[in-house]
Amino acid sequence: MDWVTQALAGDRRALARLISFVEDDGPQAHRALALLHPHSGHAHIIGVTGAPGTGKSTLVNELAKGLRAQGRTVGIVAVDPTSPFTGGALLGDRVRMRDLAGDPGIFIRSMATRGSLGGLAQATGDVVKVLDAVGFAVVLVETVGVGQAEVDIARTAHTTVVVEAPGLGDEVQALKAGLLEIADLLVVNKADRPGAAQTARALEAMLDLGRSDNGWRPPVLQTVALDGTGVDAALEAIAAHRAYLQESGQWARRERERARADLLRVLERELLHRLRARAGEDVLEHWVERVAARQVDVYTAAAALLDGLP
């Protein structure tokens, strides 16, 4: 496949086309990913997540600049939401990344969620794999602005940075399950605003209360991404986390977990696909009617459909 060869050789237009194939899914995408897979597995995948308006894009911009100063190439995947009503999307993360223009060591791609609800698009993991395979040393993944429970990024990234802003909640917010639990690094951005130290203290207090299951305590850092304050410290913490993952054997474990999750996800999709193709839409509709008419329940209907599967 031509696009793969060209993208592996460093052709950026081929890379962009390839990402589109992968985003649109289908047999062509699967063939491309099969060819790329052996080349992947070298990049440090860093997730950046947090509520809307906390400054994720600006922080990604600063992190990328810092990584480039260290001589490392950076691929960026920035995800924004698709409208559930029209299917359209406004992808605006590049607005904050204009400093990165013109650098051949950077490649930025905006993605719409296309109906996915976990903070990433269905194909984000595969797009990350493409950037990894063509040789970017670091892939930064910016999620949509999230609430409390969109935690898909933790399965995609090696290192997850959760960005908070001052004044978004008290200690009880910090105790809730979900987003804060997946943080490998907690960043209080916009730290020049009132309440930053308080937010950082609440997060530290949350960390004091638990999670001694492994040897990494997420550091709580303060940044002002707009002027770059604290970004070097964040980069150091990210590097320290990578070293920790590798020394503790967690890197390999996370890779394995991801392979497992990917395999199950694809199996789920393919099995459903096959079942629908073999049973036929008519038969499916027949069972839908029966469930809707209260003649049979969903579990019985599903079992009947699965029994017909060779």
């Binding site: 237009r13 990402i19 698709t82 406004l90 605006g92 607005v95 223009a101």
Partner: protein
């Protein structure tokens, strides 16, 4: 081509009036397209680079500064040089009537002035892109 149209909306030049660009970006979003919005003060080189990385089907340029006769050709030439001659270019803003033929000759597929309805803009772009 992907079933989902991807459109880059960019604002080249130095003026700070981005309301038109935002209105169009929003309208195309509502028409079901994926709109990549890059914000103010983009150079032609930045626009071409973004069009390439984002693999867009079309680029919309919002220009109110009067510099369209220099900026538009530079974007179109840049796209061609980057191997992106399939990417359609449309322009919005203050474009005097006498400049329209020259821009169309350059390859601009549509020009929208003040007061153009957002629905017409979305339909025109969709039609231009389906003609391939």
């Amino acid at each position: 081509m992907s079933e989902r149209l991807r459109i880059l909306i960019a604002k080249p030049g130095l003026d700070g009036h981005d309301r038109g660009a935002k209105v169009v970006a929003r309208a195309l979003r509502d028409a079901g397209m994926e709109v990549i919005y890059t914000g103010l003060r983009q150079t032609p080189e930045m626009i071409v680079e973004a069009a390439l990385q984002e693999d867009v089907d079309a680029v919309g340029l919002s220009i109110l500064s009067g510099a369209h006769m220099t900026l538009v050709p530079r974007v179109i030439e840049g796209l061609r040089a980057a191997g992106l001659s399939h990417v359609k270019v449309f322009v919005g803003g203050i474009i005097p009537d006498e400049d329209v033929p020259a821009l169309q000759e350059q390859g601009v597929v549509a020009i929208f002035g003040p007061g153009a309805s957002t629905q017409v803009i979305a339909e025109t772009i969709r039609r231009a892109l389906s003609e391939g």
